[in-house]
């Protein structure tokens, strides 16, 4: 990494964190006449819990009535259909079943039903065994009952985050990546001063902490009410797309104190997702999978779906969610820190809640700073339909208009050169192999980039004006290549 000279940046607002909560909020604030900077530790949007979760828009039956989780889940989930349509993000209301295997579970499901009704969830219904098996014939016949949740939906969480970041950027929000915040302190007079690991300084009138795993650390730098956060890792299997999937709905098992339990769910792209388990870990950046964790996910998913086989597994991953000891989201002004706001402890149902959290928090900040709404907004970008989903006629037209649509770079997911270039050029564009992968699905398929990654790397190098050796998998030191063959050989033993 080249060390840049230290810089000072000034804005009205700094948001820490470009996860789903941070970008939702950035987008809401871009509706106001105010300058906003988003600081992100990683090299891209959505690199924390946002990229590695179940992708469920929960209906809201699980959270305890009266909590912030309950309130924002139900409000947020209701915003998804319009939001996803506006931003052209895949979303599908496929419904969910929560299945019970014994009388204890039946009790739990009855409690969830009551809770859901109190929280304002519509159309909940308890099914007996026969009804549940009729609805989802691949279910374990040992189930005794199920809670039917027609309002449950699936979404691509990182694609939503990218689209919101683009929309925010089009309306003036500036994103700074690879900027880890080392300190937050009150500036002389009023406002805040942030120092980053790179040595840059960001000054602002309002600081908003949406920092996910670092949420408590930043909170404790400025608040008179310290918080305790634990980090809870969940591991997953991702199975290949298939013409027929075992379930049309997301299937949950009964929730416990550690989370919503292992689910079996389709993704919006037709893959099957199994997971997560739940394990408390010390290092929030440790997203490794473990043999024990994967075995436990498999055993529990098999209880839902006895015919499960990992033959079509294409990858395993894990995500880490931030859990506050209060067991609830903490949203609003930071206690003892005027001009600082926060949305932290965002674990499930954080994705479902994000749009509603953003609206509320943006309103508080707007009132604090006496902001006015902008007269004119730049409309959201209208991305072209993925080549994968086009009809023959649409494909013919696309190639005719742009020959780069004729070059298939990822054969598993049928992604074209034109789409990869567009993923790099969009307002908050991809800069790495993983950034391209999550924006276009190139490398998401059954060969996991074996075929396309050299080609994608070449396009990234061309588009960003760097040499091939500087291209990374996911930023930082995740370099794909160490040297040219020629220069490496000259280095001889010095390379060892």
């Amino acid at each position: 990494m080249t060390q840049q000279s230290e810089k000072v940046f000034q804005s009205d607002i700094v948001i820490a964190g470009a996860g789903i909560t941070g970008v939702s909020l950035a987008r809401e604030l871009s509706r106001y006449d105010v300058s906003v900077i988003v600081l992100e530790r990683a090299e891209d949007v959505a690199e924390g819990a946002t990229k590695a979760n179940s992708g469920i828009v929960h209906a809201g039956y699980d959270a305890k009535p009266g909590t912030a989780k309950a309130k924002y889940n139900v409000l947020g989930a209701a915003m998804f259909p319009a939001l996803c349509a506006e931003l052209s993000v895949p979303y599908r209301k496929c419904g969910a079943l929560v299945v019970g295997f014994d009388d204890n579970d039946r009790q739990t499901l009855e409690d969830l039903l009551r809770r859901g009704v109190t929280n304002g969830v519509k159309n909940l219904r308890l099914l007996n065994r026969e009804e549940a098996l009729a609805a989802e014939p691949s279910l374990n016949p040992e189930i005794v009952c199920a809670l039917d949740v027609p309002e449950s939906a699936i979404v691509s969480p990182y694609e939503l985050a990218y689209a919101m970041a683009d929309d925010a950027a089009l309306n003036g929000v500036r994103f700074h990546f690879d900027q880890e915040i080392n300190s937050v302190s009150a500036a002389a007079g009023s406002g805040w001063q942030l120092a980053t690991a790179r040595g840059d300084v960001f000054r602002c009138r309002v600081f908003i902490n949406c920092a996910g795993a670092s949420g408590a650390a930043l909170h404790n730098m400025i608040s008179d009410q310290p918080l305790q956060m634990t980090h809870r890792r969940g591991q997953y299997y991702l199975l290949d797309r298939a013409p027929y999937q075992p379930f049309t709905r997301t299937v949950f098992q009964c929730p416990s104190a550690m989370g919503k339990g292992v689910l079996v769910s389709q993704s919006v792209h037709g893959n099957l997702l199994l997971g997560p388990n739940a394990e408390d870990i010390d290092d929030p950046l440790d997203t490794a999978t473990t043999a024990e964790g994967l075995a436990s996910v498999l055993a529990r998913a098999q209880r839902t779906w006895p015919a499960l086989s990992t033959r079509s597994n294409i990858t395993n991953f894990s995500g880490v969610r931030a859990h506050l000891s209060t067991d609830d989201f903490q949203i609003g002004p930071v206690s003892g820190a005027p001009g600082a706001f926060e949305a932290i402890g965002i674990e499930s149902p954080g994705l479902s809640s994000a749009p509603a959290v953003a609206v509320d928090l943006a309103a508080s900040v707007a009132s604090f700073l006496s902001l006015r709404k902008k007269g004119n907004l730049v409309p959201p970008r209208r991305p072209k339909k993925p080549f994968h989903d086009m009809t023959d006629e649409e494909r013919a037209e696309a190639v005719q208009n742009d020959p780069a649509y004729g070059n298939i770079v990822c054969r598993c997911e049928v992604v074209t050169e034109a789409e990869i270039r567009e993923a790099i050029r969009r307002p908050v564009g991809a800069r790495s192999i993983d950034g391209v992968k999550r924006r276009t699905r190139a490398g998401m398929g059954r060969c996991q980039g074996g075929f396309c990654s050299p080609r994608v790397a070449q396009i990234i190098a061309e588009e960003t004006g760097v040499c091939l050796q500087s291209v990374t998998k996911c930023g930082g030191d995740s370099l794909l290549l160490v040297d040219t063959v020629e220069s490496f050989l000259k280095g001889g033993a010095g390379n060892d």
Binding site: T310, G406, C474, L481, V485
Partner: protein
């Protein structure tokens, strides 16, 4: 509505597609089109710059590009058009093919016969469910081979290879010759899945240890790979606790098997075999869909390109016969895997094959002082003895076409006899 009709459309200009094209033209088919997604014909041979190709077919040792050049030259001599930079998007059961290229745009072609020759792909880490972190520096061996041999870049300095498939073995030598340190080759099975000559010439000659009955059980490093944990496994392939070895490495190459590329075959409605993962075919290499043929690694994974070429010449001749409207003979015999045998191809044979029939399969274990036996109705049809049969080398048994005139039953079974190494 289609843009063009050709008598024979071949998908893929690797060794399989080229051989099929040559055979069909030599059998008199004028209208042939070969579609290739790379910028040049030759397939995976283009990046296989080591030698050892062509011993059976040409009785000499060629490099991959040299082997490919012979077929490419012959295709040019025969004036068979190869459209490069073209990716096929779909094949329908009635042989309408859609494809796309930057140069020709989107096309819909109809064909009298189709030969599937798309080759295979490497199994990724996900197929193995290997736990650990997910840093940069983990490549399938073929991807690394492409980087080194075609693009001129080194993917790493210190390398561990998981799986002892041939590409992994070849890359162990290649990376060593290019100045990298290859620390180990790790194989979960008690035997290698690669050719014996590659174990000798690519590992032993360079002092690279081969750990049989071992596998990678953890992967370390957040951004770039920093190391792997290797564990011994028991007879059920489960890691034995307390028997871990840690390697400091920045690169892990996966050579854990190849799978036929099946998207187009599936889309065409072709029946697939769970054993080979490729199409079920008759001795003419015709799939379950009339007029659609398959050969080379898209049918079943070969270890010698010479076998690919031989198989693909047969496919080309059979496709030519289909185009000339000779209705294909109905399959009468079924070929079954007996004890010790996996994935015999072809799975079906007609009553009166027009050529001798080669049965190809992999033994399920290492067999010493062994024989491969073909039986029908309790009667031994063929016995081929060898000092050793291993899963890394495809066995080929050729049945004379006259044999089929007097077989006592409709089921033909292939089985192994001999001393099984691992039980």
């Amino acid at each position: 509505m289609t843009d063009q009709h050709v008598d024979l459309l071949i998908i893929g200009a690797g060794p399989a597609g080229l051989a099929a094209a040559i055979a069909a033209r030599e059998a008199g088919i004028e209208s042939i089109l070969v579609l290739e997604r790379e910028k040049e014909p030759g397939g995976i041979l283009r990046q296989c710059i080591h030698n050892g190709f062509g011993l059976h077919r040409f009785s000499e040792e060629l490099t991959g590009p040299e082997y490919a050049k012979r077929d490419v030259d012959r295709v040019r001599e025969l004036d068979i058009p190869v459209r490069c930079g073209t990716t096929v998007l779909s094949v329908s059961p009635d042989r309408v093919v859609t494809c796309v290229s930057p140069e020709f745009g989107f096309s819909r072609l109809s064909a009298g016969a189709v030969v599937l020759a798309m080759g295979c792909r490497e199994r990724p880490r996900g197929a193995l469910c290997t736990p650990g972190s997910r840093p940069a520096g983990i490549y399938s061996a073929g991807t690394a081979q492409r980087f080194v041999n075609l693009e001129g870049y080194m993917p790493g300095r210190r390398v561990v290879i998981l799986g002892s498939g041939d590409i992994g073995l070849i890359m162990a030598r290649r990376m060593t010759l290019q100045g990298a340190k290859v620390l180990a080759c790790v194989e979960i099975m008690p035997y290698s899945s690669g050719l014996n000559r590659n174990i000798v010439q690519c590992l032993q000659d360079y002092g690279i240890p081969l750990y049989l009955s071992h596998t990678v059980t953890d992967i370390h490093g957040r951004e770039r790979l920093t190391g792997v944990t290797v564990s011994r496994v028991d007879e059920n392939r489960k890691p034995v606790p307390g028997a871990e070895i840690c390697f400091d490495c920045d690169t892990l190459l996966l050579s854990c098997g190849l799978i036929p590329e099946n998207e187009l075959s599936q889309g065409a409605g072709v029946e697939l075999s769970p054993l080979t993962s490729g199409p079920v075919v008759s001795e003419t290499l015709e799939t379950s869909v009339p007029g659609i043929f398959a050969c080379g690694n898209v049918l079943h994974v070969h270890d010698l390109v010479d076998h690919v070429s031989a198989e693909s010449f047969r496919a080309g001749r059979a496709a030519a016969a289909f185009v000339r409207a000779s209705s294909p003979p109905a399959p009468v015999f079924t070929v079954k895997d007996g004890p010790g045998v996996r994935g015999t191809v072809p799975q079906k044979i007609s009553a009166r094959p027009s050529e001798d029939v080669s049965l190809m399969f992999r033994p399920a274990d290492v067999y010493r002082n062994a024989a491969a036996v073909v039986e029908c109705g309790g009667q031994e049809v063929l016995r081929k003895k060898a000092m050793i049969y291993t899963p890394g080398e495809m066995a080929v048994l050729t049945l004379k076409k006259e044999v089929f005139e007097s077989l006592p039953d409709k089921v033909i079974t292939v089985r192994m006899e001999g001393e099984k190494q691992h039980g």
